[in-house]
């Protein structure tokens, strides 16, 4: 009886908590987690796009956007260019982390953070000057709903990038795959935010 309890105690000392989860060798947990999260995000955006197209195609009679509203396409275009640029900078940061080039990693992360902040600032500025609110009919609701949903994602992305920046400047992250997940995972999320914006921009402002 005594030996049994000693053995159990020794075992408990070696393994705290549940056993290690089974992991496929093809993808690490963190990356799989963010990819699955992105899949759920695509569905969320899909619901908003479905609402947008329903309002525009089925419920709307006449011009789109309805008179007298106008969308600032040029400003949104500049914002699009800013966000696409930030995909290049986060890619630079990740490549820097993989190759051990810390300066490139830090520069890329900082530039991405600044570009994201600029994007968000321009979008808020656009909301201030656009001349209609979310209460101005279905058009206003869906416009603010869709662009606001995306803006919220940019905000979350900025938070993730803030942590990545702090860690990068504190000397974290290495060249091994498991050591730069803190750059890679926010990077995947940021690329997703960029892709969604391209689709939002084309759908809402161009088509």
């Amino acid at each position: 009886m005594e030996s049994a309890s000693i053995s159990a105690g020794a075992h408990a000392h070696e393994h705290h908590g549940p056993p290690e989860a089974h992991q496929s060798s093809r993808i690490d947990r963190q990356t799989l987690g963010i990819l699955l999260f992105i899949v759920s995000e695509i569905m969320l955006f899909g619901a908003f796009f479905a609402s947008y197209f329903f309002i525009r195609v089925v419920a709307n009679q006449g011009a789109w956007p309805p008179d007298p509203y106008e969308l600032p396409v040029a400003v949104a275009g500049v914002n699009t260019a800013i966000l696409i640029s930030s995909s290049f900078t986060i890619h630079l940061a990740l490549e820097g982390a993989k190759k051990g080039n810390r300066n490139a990693m830090k520069m890329g992360l900082t530039a991405t953070w600044l570009l994201g902040l600029t994007f968000l600032f321009i979008q808020i500025n656009e909301y201030v000057h656009i001349g209609f609110s979310a209460r101005d009919g279905a058009f206003g609701s869906i416009f603010y709903g869709l662009t606001g949903l995306h803006g919220a994602h940019v905000f979350v992305g900025l938070l993730l990038l803030t942590f990545a920046n702090i860690r990068a400047y504190k000397g974290h992250f290495g060249t091994a795959a498991k050591d730069h997940l803190g750059v890679e995972v926010p990077g995947i999320y940021w690329h997703f935010v960029d892709v969604m914006w391209i689709v939002v921009f084309v759908t809402v402002y161009i088509l």
């Binding site: 690329h191 084309v202 161009i206 088509l207």
Partner: protein, 210 residues
């Protein structure tokens, strides 16, 4: 993921150009087409394929060495005949079944099952090849197979012909549609029997003096 940004960005350029220069509806149509193509590509690229084992007849322990040969245009090839003779050398009792799936001339014919012209051609090749093999002293029978999928033709044959091994004959790489579609790899993955691949270069054989 960075590549996705690039691909989506580049894909949106013609959409924006069409919408701005011609009409937003034209841009929307192209946008829809691109989304459909993207989903189709992702489906093809990432769909999971369950590993499966072919359902085949159990091989009886009766001392007869059975070989299933699958060939289409190369069924009469000299390299195939020589390979079969080499395999059967030393076997006291052997049986051969040659399956010849008719091959449609084009993708459209293939998917519409328009193999009316392919069947007699395949039959003719099979008969000629069977005659050659019998003349070489091989106990052989033959049949046409599923035209859609050579692997299905193999599995169908193995349900009634409990072969000890399978020989698949194809054109050389770059000229063989079967090799391009991974028939050999699939057969090796799904069949319990050993699978041998014989390459028959009909152009070389017709150029060589007999």
């Amino acid at each position: 993921m960075f590549r996705v940004v690039l691909i989506v960005g580049v894909a949106m350029i013609p959409v924006i150009l069409l919408a701005v220069v011609i009409d937003p509806l034209a841009g929307a149509i192209l946008f829809g087409i691109e989304i459909g193509a993207g989903i189709g590509f992702l489906y093809q690229r990432y769909r999971a394929v369950e590993p499966r084992a072919a359902e085949v007849a159990a091989v009886p322990d009766d001392g007869v060495h059975r070989v299933l040969v699958v060939a289409n245009e190369t069924v009469g090839g000299r390299a195939l005949l020589e390979a079969l003779q080499a395999r059967l050398e030393g076997e006291s009792r052997s049986e051969l079944l040659v399956v010849c799936p008719p091959l449609a001339g084009s993708a459209a014919e293939h998917w519409s099952s328009d193999i009316d012209s392919a069947i007699p051609e395949a039959k003719e090749r099979l008969e000629a090849s069977l005659a050659t093999m019998r003349a070489a002293g091989i106990d052989v029978s033959g049949r046409l197979g599923d035209h859609h999928d050579p692997n299905q033709a193999i599995e169908d044959a193995l349900k009634v012909f409990p072969a000890d091994e399978v020989v698949i004959s194809t054109h050389p790489p770059k000229r063989s549609r079967w090799l391009e579609s991974g028939v050999i790899e699939k057969a090796r993955a799904e069949l319990p029997q050993p699978v041998t691949h014989v390459v028959v270069d009909l152009e070389d054989e017709s150029a060589e003096p007999r």
